[in-house]
């Protein structure tokens, strides 16, 4: 306790090792949804991940690292502070995929399985066989079947202007071949999946008017099927990204969110004072990352100036906030909300600040404070909304 207090008073951020340990501990409790991507090569796993994360380029490819013998893990936006996590099973359709190891390793750690299948591909024994085993081993984990590459059923044509799949899985308006194909997939995967979603996510250069055909449908399915605790993360990400157009802001947003989430997790620890240095450390790490996105070089002084111009007030509020923890349960929730909101608002204010600097205008302290307050409101609303929706879905499921 004394140590914590000391580090707090002297503004000494924890050393890298300390922070790593702390972060690893936090990550175990953080509500990071983990998706198990399952499908043959070329069935659209990568484009699905690209769509869900909004990570444009091949960074996904280079971000993968081997997890099990057959699987790779991709942490978005980064391994240190992930917001979403993807387990990609490779080698399906290759001679001997044995799902045992993955079943064992992913038993607790993955929350939802996304099976991708090209809608016209009916050579699926290599997907179906392991899926049966996996489903049997953990029937409670939701499985979404994404039927991809719809355009292969109507080559050289645009997707239907009004998406016919929103109301029913096999609408009458689509080509007969496609109807038969989907029906066949439905039969093949009967009992193995909880939801079937036809999608077609293509790169812009392919020339489709709707490059993210059915993407929204997939997101909805994921939100509905994800366990409640993990739903809000996806929801927060989805909602807050919608209003952003600026490339840099879109790049920064996942980082802000993941750090806010981490801060909220840290604050949920039911011991007063403990979380304050953690939250501060998380915020300063976030500042460094945001600075690098905006091409600003940051030394500690700038961080203290940037984040620190909010610092005095922040610290004061934090300190008063801590006392809430003495009232169990209610305190914890309010506390996590505040940590989330403070981190989120700080991140957004910093982004705004750097954005202004980049366009040749250095904002005054007051301006930054205004933005910060505004974002704090936004953050609180975002938290509230996503948690309410999350709870509503929870009610639906039950």
């Amino acid at each position: 306790m004394f140590k914590t207090l000391k580090s707090l008073l002297f503004h000494r951020p924890p050393s890298d090792d300390q922070f790593q340990d702390e972060q690893a501990r936090l990550l175990e409790h953080a509500p990071v949804p983990v998706f198990w991507m399952f499908g043959k090569t070329g069935s659209g796993k990568t484009s699905t991940v690209r769509y869900l994360t909004g990570a444009e380029d091949a960074r996904i490819g280079s971000g993968y690292r081997p997890e099990t013998k057959h699987s790779q893990r991709f942490d978005f936006p980064s391994e240190a502070s992930p917001l979403l996590r993807f387990m990609d099973t490779r080698g399906l359709g290759e001679s001997a995929y044995d799902p045992d190891e993955d079943i064992r390793e992913f038993a607790q750690s993955t929350h939802l399985m996304i099976v991708t299948v090209r809608v016209m591909d009916h050579a699926l024994e290599s997907v179906l066989a392991p899926l049966r085993t996996i489903r049997k081993a953990s029937p409670e984990r939701p499985v979404v079947l994404a039927l991809t590459c719809l355009h292969e059923a109507y080559p050289q044509q645009q997707h239907p202007e009004i998406d016919p799949f929103d109301d029913q899985l096999i609408p009458d308006s689509i080509p007969l071949d496609l109807q038969r194909s989907i029906r066949k997939q439905q039969d093949a995967f009967a009992g193995l999946v909880d939801r079937i979603v036809p999608i077609d996510l293509t790169k812009p250069e392919e020339g489709f008017d709707q490059p993210e055909f059915g993407g929204e449908r997939l997101k909805q399915a994921l939100l509905e099927l994800l366990p409640a605790a993990f739903r809000q993360t996806l929801l927060q990400f989805d909602e807050s990204m919608q209003s952003l157009r600026d490339m840099k802001e879109r790049q920064a947003q996942p980082i802000i969110l993941s750090h806010s989430m981490l801060a909220a997790t840290a604050a949920a620890v039911p011991v007063p004072w403990v979380d304050i240095p953690s939250v501060m450390a998380i915020q300063s790490r976030m500042t460094y990352k945001l600075a690098s996105i905006y091409g600003q070089s940051v030394d500690r002084n700038v961080v203290l100036k940037g984040a620190g111009l909010l610092g005095g007030r922040l610290l004061a509020r934090m300190l008063t906030r801590e006392s809430l923890k003495f009232i169990p349960y209610v305190g914890i929730a309010a506390n996590a909300t505040l940590a989330f909101a403070y981190t989120y608002a700080t991140g957004r204010a910093i982004c705004w600040y750097f954005g202004q600097v980049n366009s040749g205008h250095v904002p005054s302290e007051e301006q930054v404070s205004d933005i910060w307050r505004e974002q704090l409101n936004q953050a609180a609303k975002l938290w509230q909304r996503t948690h309410e929706t999350g709870n509503n879905h929870d009610g639906n499921d039950a």
Partner: protein, 527 residues
């Protein structure tokens, strides 16, 4: 052409040059320029001499006595060929005395045939034991007949060389080099321009007549080894079992089919096949590929009709056979539409169907869906096929052409304005096609004879690359395919022939028994 004729030609060519040379020199001397120009001839001749020495190797044409792999040879046969080539190289170690001794040829032939037989039957102590008498006689007959023909045609004055003269030849060194030289003589008949070349290279090096002598001997030895080796290979591969005449007939059939090269015209498909063409060397093409890769569509595009059943769900269950005729090529093709294998590889039943297709096929079209990068099942099937052929050494593995279908679905998906130059791509679509083709080559490498990207969607009127690219590739492989077809029918005929002979022989024995029984009875009755 005799030597004196060559000399006459040479003199006639040289006289005008000499006259002008003398006149020119005289003129130069008169004008006083000779002091400045005398160095030109020695400099350039000297340079020419040095270069001629240096380029000697490349000035010689390839040796005709070298053994070339025959079209119908299996990989095992080609390995055996190495043994024969090695023997030919050993010519340097042969003494002239040996070279003129008939016993030496007999011994060499025996050694060589033993060595080759051992290559085919590595695990037996007596590798010759499994051969039949007919085979050995046929091999000897064919080899000697060939050498005789060759000597008659290619050795100058061979019809007059007596054994005494033959022995006199055995004096000069440098056998192997001389063996190559003799081909010069042969080529003189074909192309008089070579005479000039020959004179240039010869006169700058060493006396010509001396080498002709040694050359004759060496070439004879080389040719002898080549023919003996060649027919030992044919014998050990079991292709001589039905006798020399049968073998010659089959080879003549192959030769007559592998000469035409023109591409089939667009009307080719509709013309009815001439009856006699549906003979033994019609080529069977197995079309294999994953489920829904587009095998049936490809067949429809090839035959220009909508006959193979095409559906969005997997359809082809058994092997279906379609016929396709290219009169320009005198080719009758049987296309075998096989059941597609699933991604877990082929099931046992599908494998059986595919094996039976392999058994009949002379060319394999491996159909690959360009839109799906999952290639593991194809790799497994290709490997299975390789093992299958490895276990049947008397058969020649057919060439495999990868046909990359559905290229219309490559990026950019919505663009389709064929033809695309995928060899030197400039547009994004052509680049996608090129990359897809390169990926297959990277994956399968040497196992493929060619990769051809096509679109065979006849229903949407999007057929591209079939007539323009796939058919020419298939035509160039027809000779190879025909060679494997011949091999297959030859083995089949040999089996039939043996059965027929057995039957005749059995009947003969039966008749003999009957007759002796009758005689016996008659004798007994008379008593």
């Amino acid at each position: 052409m005799k030597t004196w004729q060559l000399v006459v030609l040479g003199v006639l060519l040289a006289i005008p040059l000499a006259v002008f040379g003398v006149l020119g020199t005289w003129a130069l001397w008169r004008t006083g320029s000779l002091i400045w120009t005398w160095w030109i001839p020695p400099t350039f001749w000297g340079l020419g001499y040095l270069l001629a020495r240096r380029w000697q190797a490349s000035l010689y044409p390839a040796s005709r006595t070298r053994i070339e792999p025959a079209l119908h040879w299996t990989p095992q046969d080609e390995e055996a060929m190495q043994i024969v080539s090695r023997r030919q190289q050993e010519i340097e170690e042969v003494t002239p005395a040996q070279m003129t001794d008939p016993q030496f040829y007999l011994k060499t032939a025996t050694d060589l045939s033993l060595e080759i037989a051992r290559h085919y039957h590595p695990n037996t102590s007596d590798p010759l034991s499994s051969l039949t008498v007919v085979e050995i006689l046929a091999a000897a007959h064919l080899a000697l007949e060939d050498v005789e023909r060759w000597a008659h045609r290619s050795l100058p004055a061979s019809h007059m060389i007596t054994v005494r003269q033959w022995r006199l030849l055995g004096k000069a060194p440098g056998w192997y080099r001389a063996a190559r030289d003799v081909t010069w003589l042969a080529s003189l008949y074909l192309n008089p321009a070579n005479a000039m070349r020959y004179l240039v290279t010869r006169f700058t090096m060493d006396p010509f007549t001396q080498e002709v002598q040694t050359g004759v001997l060496a070439a004879f030895y080389s040719m002898f080894i080549r023919q003996v080796g060649y027919y030992c290979i044919e014998m050990n591969s079991g292709r001589l079992r039905a006798g020399a005449d049968h073998y010659r007939a089959a080879m003549a059939r192959l030769e007559s089919r592998t000469s035409t090269k023109a591409l089939p015209g667009p009307t080719a498909i509709d013309a009815p096949p001439p009856e006699e063409e549906i003979g033994d060397t019609s080529v069977t093409v197995a079309v294999i590929g994953q489920v829904k890769a587009g095998k049936s569509s490809l067949i429809n595009a090839l035959i220009g009709e909508n006959r193979a059943a095409v559906d969005v769900l997997p359809k082809t269950q058994d092997v279906e056979e379609y016929r396709l005729t290219w009169p320009d090529q005198q080719a009758e093709l049987r296309l075998l539409d096989t059941a597609g294998y699933a991604d877990a590889g082929a099931t046992r039943e599908q494998l059986r169907g595919m094996y039976s297709a392999f058994e009949r096929s002379d060319l394999v079209l491996l159909v690959l869906d360009a839109r799906s990068p999952a290639r593991e099942p194809d790799r497994v099937v290709l490997e299975t096929m390789q093992t299958w052929y490895h276990e049947r050494k008397q058969l020649k593995p057919p060439p495999v052409v990868a046909v990359l279908t559905h290229i219309d679905g490559l990026s950019p998906v919505l663009e389709w304005t064929p033809p695309y130059d995928w060899v030197e791509p400039t547009t994004p679509k052509a680049k996608s096609i090129s990359e897809a083709a390169a990926y297959q080559i990277e994956l399968f490498g040497e196992r493929l004879s060619a990769v051809v990207p096509v679109c065979s969607d006849a229903a949407a009127d999007r057929v591209s690359g079939v007539d323009e690219e796939l058919v020419p590739v298939m035509v160039t492989l027809l000779d190879q395919a025909r060679a494997s077809a011949l091999l297959r029918t030859l083995h089949h005929e040999i089996r039939q022939e043996r059965l027929r002979q057995l039957r005749t022989q059995a009947l003969g024995v039966g008749r003999l028994l009957l007759e002796s029984a009758r005689d016996f009875l008659e004798r007994e009755l008379r008593r």
